[in-house]
Symmetry: C2
Subunit: 326 residues, 2 copies
Amino acid sequence: MATIYQVAALAGVSPATVSRVFNGRPVSDEKSKLVREAASTLAFTPNRTARSLRKQSSEVLALIIPDIENPFFTAMARGVEDRAQAAGFSVVLCNTDDDPGKEATYLQIALSENMAGVILVPASDQSDLSSIIASGRPVVTVDRTTAFDVDHVMIENEPAGASVTTALFDAGFERVACIAGPETVVTATDRARGWRHVVEARGGYDSELLLKIANYRVDGGRAAMAELLAEAETPDAVVVTNNLMGVGALQVLNEHGLTPPAFGVGVIGDLPFTTLSPGLISLVHLPTRDLGTTAVKMLVSRIAGNREPARTVLLPGELAVASVHT
Amino acid sequence: MATIYQVAALAGVSPATVSRVFNGRPVSDEKSKLVREAASTLAFTPNRTARSLRKQSSEVLALIIPDIENPFFTAMARGVEDRAQAAGFSVVLCNTDDDPGKEATYLQIALSENMAGVILVPASDQSDLSSIIASGRPVVTVDRTTAFDVDHVMIENEPAGASVTTALFDAGFERVACIAGPETVVTATDRARGWRHVVEARGGYDSELLLKIANYRVDGGRAAMAELLAEAETPDAVVVTNNLMGVGALQVLNEHGLTPPAFGVGVIGDLPFTTLSPGLISLVHLPTRDLGTTAVKMLVSRIAGNREPARTVLLPGELAVASVHT
DNA sequence: ATGAAAGCGCTAACAA
DNA sequence: TTGTTAGCGCTTTCAT
């Protein structure tokens, strides 16, 4: 790899001038041309490590997510990637497995690599952001919140839970159950609250009897659905609060011969790779990609120096009665 | 962020000693203890940017893949992530969209960030690795090959295509079609070749009539399956050469009321989020995660100085007659 | 507009 | 074993 000095020597200018050319600072057309030619014959590219050491900041963003195999997060990552690239940043993808220890490690790495900023889906509401905040590096949390006062972009979870529940009652179902996520994740509890409010208004049964807490993964959805079907008074419909548990619930229903609309199913989140026979279910489409692009937008504004108080952006889900081919 | 000098001052030693402590080089127990205490009170973490500039190499690997939303690649990424982390490396995830231009950009960034090595799923067999090879940075290609002589880890694609085709004939199907991927991707053509050989041996029909080329995505699978069903002499079974096209094909079959085993379906690749009614299809399970871990293993050995000639590792697929709940 | 020179934080010769 | 020092490649004052 050629250095700025070699380019400078070949072009007959100083290293500072070469630097200026590559940073868009004023340089005479004549010298600028010389530098460009020299750079091109030497196949010069600025060394980002050196630049980042000198500037105390790199053109890299950390994206820290719980599960890279969950389509929800990959769609989000896709949004982050696209927008970041457009803004001139690369993205380091870090997988925490919902493990606070791994999360802490990655936050530490983000700091010691001088990364420009962090986009974080917190492993839990207990995630510790104190050191990254103390360092002054901008952080945006996505999809979940913590106790820390940072920018975040969220989905309107309670309305999502309420609207899909309402849709099921409107379709004639009478005992709408709910499979909710872990209690340490606000996203999960908010969606369940939306369901509960509607049940209390329209259900005429004790909502607690038809609420199951599961782990946000396919197996959690399977287990919870199986439990619901084993209840003394079974439900005739279910609201599932995330995509993966939705897959698990649909699998179990299919195994019992209960395909929608024989049994009502409402899922909050998209099911990108399903192969269901065309049956209708209620689905809340979540603007996952927008979650990512919005986060980058906010983060980049902070990197550029924005010092406003922490902002919250709420993105609405979109109710769709749909066949599962989405 | 504290520096090595501040730690040295507090501990009453030289910066070099601090560096030695953090790099496991011999230091007396006494000074070592002083340094550790000082480091801990200052919350010191070595600045990776500076280290990487000095060492001309960082503890970061580039993982360049065509589509972060494809479960095949995310499972692979998961393997890469896990193993890399265990070996002390972080992973930068780069999405190319099968675009050679984006791919070239990311390869360039990997170089100018002094990344320790690159794991690449080439966008096509025309991908240009010359500059990265010239730089001496190790590269491992995964799942696909290029014209360049580098380490690669592949799946045994032709046997995978052959075994799933054989399974369908053995199950009594007589006209087994194939939905293959783009001709610029060896993986796709190899799998199709496996299918063709078996058809020529056992089919008694012109294989070319039942071969469709598609784009490796869900919509490609849908389009190809629809074409096949519109043929004058329709097939009674199909081999689909990747997971996403498999999803598309199954969707179209379901829409036509042709669920397996009424129509034979063999898919090469796993279908992680399907919700099919329990029907039997033939599936070649691919060791996706192993693809990733193996690639890291090879790359790390190169980073450590291994100078053997380029190696090829072949991982076998595993035929499974399975319900789609995998 | 341009050049000289310092320094970002670290590691690795070299000396002691 | 330990300290001194140079320098990785770049950006950025400060002069000119």
